[in-house]
Amino acid sequence: MPSSPEAARVAIDRVLCTGHGVCAQTLPGAIVLDEWGYPILRHEAVEPEAAALAVKLCPARALYLRS
C-alpha cells in the first residue's frame, strides 16, 4: 500500500500520558517504553497511517500530530 510521501510527526503530551504503553505497540519502531512504562520517542517521523491509528488508540489522548 503506497504511503504518502510526507511522514507524519508525532508528539506526546507528557501531562496526559499515564503510561498505558499502547503507542509502543502501534508505533513499534518509533516508540519504546522506559522501566515505568512511559514512552521514549526515538524519532518523530512516522508513517502517516500508523500515526493516525496510534493517535486514535491512545487511551489517554496523549499522542498527537505536529503540523
Binding site: D13, R14, C17, D34
Partner: protein
C-alpha cells in the same frame, strides 16, 4: 510593526530569565495577538536574586518597560512573585497587580505562571505552540494569549527605550549584547549583585564579590538548571555561551555560586538533585519517577562508586531529556551530568574511603548555602 519591537530587534535584547529567546520576536507576537503580559519577578532558580533587586531598586523603570510592550488600550499586566516574599510585598505596596506564586521550584516557569494567571495550578503546561498565540491546556481549557517576560528583560526594555540600542550594544559581545545582572553568592567574601555582560571572565565576576577564595574548589553557574565547574575552570572560563557550552552549560539567569569547600561536593550535589526530585510537578512520568530514581542512583554512586554505576547513571540522565512538559528534568539532568564529570576526583576519593569532608546536617535546605 511597532517601534519598540524594531528598537529591541536592533538592540538584540534576549530574555534574561535563562532561555535567552529574542525579546523582539516575543513582543511582536504579543502585540499581534493582544497578549496579556506577566512580568516574572520570582527569582525561581536556586541562588537567584536579581529580580528582587530590580523590584527593590528600579520599580519605576520596570513599570515603564511593561507599559511599553503590553498591548491594547487597556493592557493587562501582572507581576509574578512568590507568596510572602519581599518582592511580592513591594509589588503589592506599589499597588501593582500581583500574581502570587506558591513556593515551588517549577511554579515560576513560564507556562506555570500562565496557568496560574488563568485560574489553574502553578504547574507547567504542555506547550503545543507558544501561549502568546493563545492555546489550550491538556484538559482542553482555553488559555487566552499570554506572554511572560523576565523582570530584568522588562527593565532592559525601558533602558533601551530611554538610552538607545547603541548604548545597549556597547556592552557584551556582538552575539550576546547588553548588560546583565549577576548575583555572585555562596562561599565568597561579599555576596552581591554585579552588573556585567557576556564576554567577561568568570573570575571578573567573582572579583565583584571579593574574588574566588583560595580554598574554593567548585563553582556553580546557573543554579540547579546550570552546571558546576572546578575552581580551576572558573579562573579561566569566559562567561559567554560558546565557552559555557563547552562545560555543558549556558549563560543562565545570572547566578554564580561558589560552593562551600568544607562540605563534600558530592553531598552538595546529592542534596540539590534530591531537591530537584522533590520539586517535580507530578504531571509527567519520566520526571516524577525518573528524578527520584536519579537521586537514589546518585546516592548509591556516592556510597559505592563503580564504573557500572556511572554507566547506569548516564543512562538515567539520557532518559530525562525532553521527556517532560517542561525543562525541569532537563535542567536537573544537565546539572547532574556536569557534576558527574566535575566531581570525578571526589568520587574517586569516595571509592578509596578517603573523603574527609563534613556530612551536611539534615536540617539544612538546598537553599541555605546558596544565598
Amino acid at each position: 510593526m511597532t517601534d519598540i519591537a524594531e528598537l529591541l530587534e536592533t538592540a538584540g535584547l534576549t530574555g534574561r530569565g535563562g532561555a535567552a529567546f529574542s525579546t523582539a520576536i516575543k513582543i511582536k507576537a504579543a502585540k499581534e495577538n493582544g497578549a496579556e503580559l506577566i512580568v516574572n519577578a520570582c527569582d525561581g532558580e536556586i541562588g537567584a536574586a536579581k529580580d528582587a533587586w530590580i523590584v527593590e531598586h528600579h520599580l519605576h523603570e520596570l513599570i515603564e518597560g511593561a507599559a511599553l510592550v503590553a498591548s491594547g488600550k487597556r493592557p493587562r499586566i501582572s507581576y509574578a512573585a512568590h507568596r510572602g516574599s519581599r518582592t511580592a510585598e513591594l509589588i503589592a505596596r506599589a499597588g501593582l497587580p500581583l500574581l502570587e506564586v506558591p513556593h515551588r521550584y517549577v511554579s515560576s516557569e513560564e507556562t506555570s505562571l500562565i496557568s496560574l494567571a488563568h485560574g489553574g495550578l502553578a504547574k507547567p503546561m504542555t506547550k503545543r505552540a507558544p501561549f502568546v498565540f493563545g492555546g489550550r491546556d491538556s484538559q482542553g481549557r482555553r488559555v487566552s494569549p499570554t506572554v511572560v517576560l523576565n523582570a530584568e528583560t522588562v527593565w532592559r526594555i525601558s533602558q533601551i527605550n530611554r538610552l538607545g540600542a547603541e548604548w545597549f550594544r556597547s556592552f557584551g559581545t556582538t552575539a550576546e549584547p547588553g548588560p546583565r545582572l549577576v548575583w555572585v553568592g555562596g562561599h565568597v567574601a561579599r555576596p552581591g549583585m554585579c552588573e556585567a555582560a557576556a564576554g567577561v571572565s568568570l573570575s571578573d565576576l567573582l572579583d565583584f564579590a571579593g574574588g574566588l577564595p583560595a580554598d574554593a574548589r567548585h563553582v556553580g553557574v546557573g543554579g540547579l538548571g546550570g552546571v558546576v565547574i572546578t575552581a580551576a575552570d572558573a579562573r579561566t572560563t569566559i562567561w559567554d555561551t560558546p565557552s559555557m557550552k563547552q562545560l555543558g552549560g549556558a549563560l543562565g539567569p545570572g547566578i554564580v555560586t561558589v560552593w562551600n569547600p568544607a562540605e563534600c561536593p558530592v553531598e552538595t550535589a546529592a542534596r540539590l538533585i534530591s531537591y530537584g526530585a522533590g520539586e517535580s510537578a507530578g504531571q509527567c512520568g519520566p520526571c516524577m519517577f525518573g528524578l527520584p530514581a536519579l537521586a537514589a542512583d546518585w546516592a548509591d554512586l556516592a556510597r559505592n562508586p563503580t564504573s557500572k554505576g556511572r554507566q547506569h547513571l548516564k543512562l538515567r540522565l539520557s532518559q530525562l531529556e525532553r521527556r517532560g512538559a517542561c525543562a525541569h528534568p532537563d535542567g536537573v539532568a544537565r546539572f547532574a551530568q556536569s557534576a558527574l564529570r566535575t566531581l570525578a576526583p571526589e568520587f574517586a576519593a569516595h571509592a578509596n574511603h578517603s573523603c574527609q569532608k563534613v556530612r551536611t546536617p539534615k536540617a539544612r535546605t538546598a537553599h541555605a548555602q546558596f544565598a
